[in-house]
């Protein structure tokens, strides 16, 4: 059995205040709290007030290729495109990509320094659209997830090849020295 950490999302309760984006981006800023920029948040509220669509989505894994998911789902009379519920940082959309570095963003459930009891977006969601849940699932305990630097490097390696990345790093180090 493995422990799974999830954020349950109730889209009927979200009121679009975006406090989740604010706290997430502030907590993960370097230095901590130095800015709160929704674009750097690992949770985004996809919202369209005119269509009454409010979907908080937290960042999952990075994917190299888009999945051709162009289908439309109608739920309660409202049309959602397939991407609305997808958590991937994906080349087909500008979600979960750091605007400065272009590197993918991934939710770590606020377990970096200092680790929090529950993700901060959940803590600050007074509308209770977000709830934190830990549950047991079949399967083996997952390996420790790569940290942010590793995720970034992995995506650079995928895009440019390990050799090119190593060369660039060596060059940067040389320049700095």
């Amino acid at each position: 059995m493995k422990k799974v950490k999830t954020i349950k999302v109730d889209i009927d309760k979200c009121n679009g205040c975006r406090a989740c984006e604010m706290i997430c981006s502030a907590f993960h800023a370097t230095p901590k709290y130095s800015s709160n920029n929704p674009e750097k948040s690992k949770i985004r509220v996809l919202f369209d007030p005119i269509k009454d669509i409010y979907v908080p989505v937290y960042a999952g894994g990075y994917t190299e290729a888009e999945c051709n998911g162009w289908d439309i789902y109608t739920i309660d009379g409202k049309e959602y495109d397939e991407c609305a519920f997808c958590r991937a940082s994906c080349p087909s959309r500008d979600l979960f990509t750091d605007p400065d570095s272009g590197l993918p963003l991934q939710c770590d459930m606020c377990l970096d320094d200092p680790p929090q009891d529950e993700p901060l977006c959940v803590k600050w969601c007074h509308a209770d659209a977000l709830t934190y849940e830990e549950r047991e699932e079949e399967g083996e305990e997952a390996k420790k997830k790569p940290d942010e630097m590793e995720v970034g490097l992995q995506s650079l390696v995928k895009n440019h090849g390990a050799k090119k990345v190593m060369e660039s790093l060596a060059k940067l180090k040389q320049e700095k020295d």
């Binding site: 009121n15 901590k32 920029n37 369209d48 009454d52 605007p99």
Partner: protein, 648 residues
């Protein structure tokens, strides 16, 4: 490094198509903070009194408040400032939502629009990419339609849009600028239309620097919880979640601000009207980084989804003697046209009265329906297209009355400074409210009132207990509140101070972008407001690095307020214009009113003709204003200027 603000304004010349990113002077932020304050400085510097509101030289300024885009909860109100063709004076409005923070993340504290585009355009901003784009395909489109079309064609779900509808395009003076659940009313939409600007679409992804991030963050998170805990009782729009409409239906006047119906509301109506809302409510929605949800989105059969806020839930119903169904149906239509929900109903009710009185006839209004509700829909179509008599009505009650003539002037009884006021008909003159109506320059009482409670708590022990925990109030107000006998007026001295405190709170909020529902407006209904003059300096200092305390904050707000007075003085505003609506109170007292104004001007450091004195201007560091007013002969070099016959 600049903190809390970006340090740059976007200057757009719509006549020449020129776009510039201009660095701003940090000293101005210390003096005027931001938002309305710094916008007023720009209007003073760059738009002289000779500039016609419909000329290329008029500016339309969208300003993010100083605290917008910082973690400070509920600081999301964007200020829109310009000169209005309706009043000939400075015009100011605010809207919440998400626009201002996005603009700041794009790298701009303000968007300053000059000139006029020869054809309808929209402004597209994505960080450093700024383009004036063709909007011919958006001509005549509704405000929400426009937002939807732009989102789709820009392929960007996160872009924030503020747009005008047909009313703005046709320079209807009641035109608003709409942004989802929020709108900038009080006559700024007609200037946007005059400039040929259909919409602004903005998207920003840059960081905003904070002076003391960690300390500010702690303070903000505590405040976030406090605001949530204080909701309904001390913060937010108390009426959003309320189906009992006794307060508005009984206290405000129906029709063309004519009649109070104190027995209108029956207990069973709470459930009946509540069901109308429940059956059509999609959800309550919030503005950026605010734990409250003061806006309701409503869907109505055959209509586009709309949002109501505050008293606009009832304004059309009460003006037409109709019900909630009618009001909802009406907002659905008028929000798409981009019409202000406060002033428009009054223009419509005014036109209906003129017809009943035979001043407007079937010749002016061919096939005019019998039912008032149908008449409202009929008139709206005429007004937004400026068709026939709609052309005069589109200029608001004051101007329409004079254009129509034939006795129509007598039906203009609820305007001040040529602007529609809330429909109230009350008994005895209320001293502080008299001063606020007469001297306010934000044009709507909701933008002026707010800090001091409207009534004393009757039980003296309870009143004492309230005063003990009243953190928002300076000491002198606690004393006046304790001494206040129910059903009497505060003393002249207290009234003068109350009027000043009330409006100063708004000048603070509107410069930092704070929502009045958690600050300046809400004190009158209970006092224990989340933000006030004593705790805001911490937020401002930690966010912006500006060294400020309560006294300096009060002074900065007074500086902006005084500058705006001087701007309007330059356009002809004088004491003779400072009057409440004609029959707002049944019982008036000319002697007391004179005394109130005399004392208020003295307190404000204004001449008896309502112009800031040279000394007061010098004290606020506004010597350049004094110099200009003296050069123009508006102010004499030695204090008292004789009362002149004006006006604008």
């Amino acid at each position: 490094m600049r903190y809390a603000e970006t340090g740059y304004n976007l200057e757009i010349d719509l006549s020449r198509g020129n776009i510039e990113r201009v660095a701003t002077d940090p000293r101005d932020s210390e003096l005027y903070l931001g938002g309305q304050g710094t916008a007023a400085k720009i209007l003073w510097d760059r738009v002289g009194p000779e500039v016609d509101p419909f000329s290329e030289d008029n500016l339309l300024i969208f300003s993010a408040g100083l605290l917008q885009g910082t973690p400070v909860p509920s600081a999301n109100r964007t200020s829109v400032d310009t000169f209005s063709a309706q009043t000939g004076l400075y015009s100011h409005s605010l809207f919440g939502g998400f626009f201002g923070p996005e603009m700041k993340h794009a790298g701009y504290d303000k968007i300053i629009l000059r000139g006029k585009s020869p054809k309808l355009v929209y402004l597209y901003i994505h960080n450093d990419v700024v383009e004036i784009r063709d909007a011919s395909h958006l001509a005549g489109k509704g405000t929400m339609d426009t937002a939807e079309i732009l989102k789709k064609e820009l392929r960007d779900s996160k872009v924030q849009i503020a747009a005008i509808g047909l009313a703005g395009e046709n320079r209807v003076y009641m035109a608003a600028i709409e942004h989802y659940n929020s709108s900038a009313s009080r006559g700024v939409g007609h200037i946007m239309g005059d400039k040929g600007l259909k919409a602004i679409a903005v998207r920003g992804t840059k960081d905003i620097n904070i002076a003391k991030p960690e300390e500010l963050h702690k303070l903000c998170m505590d405040k976030y919880t406090e605001i949530y805990d204080k909701r309904v009782k001390y913060a937010g729009d108390v009426l959003t979640h309320e189906n009992n409409e006794t307060f508005h239906t009984n206290s405000f006047a129906w029709g063309n601000a004519r009649e109070r119906r104190k027995d209108f509301w029956k207990p069973e109506m709470t459930a009946e009207w509540g069901k109308v809302t429940e059956d059509h409510l999609l959800r309550h929605s919030a503005c950026y980084n605010c734990p409250l949800d003061c806006h309701a989105s409503i869907t109505y059969p055959g209509r586009r989804t709309f949002f109501y806020k505050c008293y606009s839930k009832l304004t059309y119903a009460m003006a037409a003697y109709k019900d909630l169904h009618f009001n909802y149906d009406m907002i659905a239509v008028t929000q798409e046209y981009g019409l202000d929900g406060f002033s428009t109903p009054q223009v419509l009710a005014f036109a209906c009265e003129l017809y009943e009185a035979g001043i407007l006839t079937d010749k002016d209004l061919p096939d005019f329906p019998k039912d008032t509700g149908e008449r409202f829909f009929y008139l709206v179509e005429k007004i937004v297209r400026r068709e026939g008599v709609g052309d005069a009505l589109a200029n608001g009650v004051y101007r329409a009355a004079r254009q129509i003539g034939n006795g129509a002037e007598a039906y203009d009884h609820n305007t001040t400074k040529k602007f529609e006021q809330l429909p109230l008909k009350l008994g005895n003159l209320n001293y502080p409210f008299f001063l606020m109506y007469a001297t306010g320059e934000k044009m709507c009482i909701t933008q002026i009132e707010g800090a001091f409670p409207q009534d004393p708590i009757r039980d003296i022990e309870k009143r004492k207990a309230f005063v003990e925990g009243w953190e928002a109030a300076p000491e002198r107000f606690k004393k006046w509140y304790l001494e206040w006998e129910p059903r009497t007026q505060p003393s002249i001295e207290a009234s003068v101070n109350i009027a000043d405190w009330n409006e100063t709170g708004h000048y603070v909020d509107d410069s930092i972008g704070m929502c009045a529902y958690v600050s300046s407006f809400r004190g009158q209904f209970g006092g224990r407001i989340p933000y006030h003059m004593y705790n805001l300096p911490d937020f401002i200092s930690l966010a912006s690095g500006i060294d400020i305390d309560t006294d300096k904050l009060w002074e900065a707000a007074t500086r902006s307020r005084t500058l705006i007075r001087a701007i309007n003085n330059r356009r002809g505003l004088r004491r003779v214009d400072e009057k409440p609506p004609g029959d707002h109170w049944k019982y008036r007292d000319a002697a007391v009113e004179k005394q109130l104004l005399d004392e208020y001007y003295k307190f404000k450091g204004w001449t008896e003709d309502a112009i800031p004195t040279k000394e007061k201007l010098a004290e606020l560091g506004l010597d350049f204003v004094a110099e200009d007013l003296i050069n123009r002969g508006i102010l004499t070099d030695n204090a008292d200027t004789p009362v002149k016959e004006p006006s604008a």
